[in-house]
Amino acid sequence: MQFISLSFLCFLLTTWVLWRFMPKERRWQLLLTASLFFIGFSNPGALLVLISSSLLTFYAGLSIQRFPNRRRSLYLFSLVLQVSCLFLLKYIESGNGGLYFLFREAGFREDVLLFAVGFSFYTLQHIAYLTDIYQKRSSPQTSALRFLLFSSFFAKFNAGPLEQTNRLIPQFNIPDQQPAGLLEGINRIALGVFKKMVLADRLAPIVAGIFNGSAAAGSAATLTGVCLFTVQLYFDFSAYSDIAIGSAKLFGIELTENFDRPFTAASVSEFWRKWHISLIRWFTTSIYFPVAFRFRKQKYLAVFLGIGITFLVSGLWHGIGKTFFIWSLLHAIYLSYESLTKQTRIAWKNRFSPIWYNGMSILLTFLLVCFSNLFFRSANLSEALRLLRQLASSPFGGKGPTEGFLAVLAGGGYQEALFNFFLTISLMFVFLFLEKRISTWIRSGSYAFLQLFFLLLLIFLAGVFKHADYFIYLQF
């Protein structure tokens, strides 16, 4: 079930009404039923795989604790099983060349895709759960059904945020149940829908025009398109998290925040603390720390290896292909450079005026991230190379600024197209400018009704109903 669909709206309403009138001690059972329905609705087969994988993980966790002599083999066995499933799936998914864009064009069913994504997310959570038990950082869960709800919880099933068992499962129990944040939840969902339908989907054709366009665009238009892709990706994916967090909030469940205004980051390492937080946390604890810990005696090697392997795995997780490899390589280089020069940079910052230094750092960070995402979005290496060539060409492709820049981005220079283009760009800037304030308002509940009204109004006035693109991040 897609988040932005009438069926999800009906599903959410029905579940909420039932939840409202359900005795407190049975509410988690209702959520479990609803979640299984949510998954089974579009793909009954997925349900079977999910249930078996969850039960396997659950009992593996118990056995690891119960049989101390065999814990290592038990752990490794279940790990191999989970990881091989994950890679098998990624392999099938990537088909020829490794991209969801191809995947979609190849006419795969969208529910298969949704399931594939959910599969990668809950697999990661299962792996973290087993690792925690194996390394004796936490003890296994005792209720199989609650564990199943943890794995399948509909709000986070499709694309996260990744949760930890000991943070989520207690919230299913009566004493820890929060009151439902009805208005906050609704506003958060409305914000997500707004970000997706108004911002991300309006940016989508502009970005697609640059990435898929065969016409040679000048460097100015290409640069803008490449930067806008990163913005689009942010709106798209954070919208998804907003809807997930908001939906959970309706049922009094707090999910982890996944984004913290990443475009204000003044370094790439800070960027990664603000972007897809729950996934990065997973990579840090499950891959980076173990690797770096093993090699900690060799100071820099530890960090380089840790970063390198982490991003290699991250790149593989996102997709199998040369472009993803370059993407991970770039980030490994960025972060290695930053860890090497950390002290120098602190010294610089103190020497220059901090405002200027910070401003320049934020801009540079943004450009570096956008540059890496050029490879992330390109369907193949030759497309990436074409874009690189375009970036090195003359600003307007040898034409005037109107014809060589605006017309290229706005899909022809017609008044109507220009109007839509400027509307999109202004909405984007206004939102980015107000973003901090809006999220504070949503959390504190001030202007709640006014906010809801304006969000709904904007969705109806400027939202893209037709050709609503899938959430980009669902491909991973």
């Binding site: 950082r137 720390f289 100071k299 960090v303 930053e338």
Partner: protein, 79 residues
């Protein structure tokens, strides 16, 4: 200020290249500039060298504040 904390302070000064850095038991990543997962490992290996001890993986994963580090060091030193 106890002896372990004082020695640990020197390690922090060395890793973060800041001679006037003063740490407290409650210091954590949020109030020491530059303390993140990248520098964390350097901090760990310097601390191990300085006290001549070896942390376990679970210990370093549990380090949230300076206090966590101090207690772990004291445990290893047998105090």
């Amino acid at each position: 200020m106890n002896e372990v904390l004082q020695k640990l302070n020197e390690v922090f000064c060395k890793v973060f290249l800041k001679n006037d850095l003063v740490i407290h038991l409650l210091s954590d990543a949020s109030n020491i500039e530059g303390w993140d997962s990248l520098t964390h490992m350097m901090l760990i290996s310097e601390t191990e060298k300085r006290f001549n001890i070896t942390f376990t993986f679970n210990e370093i994963m549990a380090f949230k504040t300076v206090n966590d580090m101090v207690s772990a060091i004291e445990k290893h030193l047998g105090r």
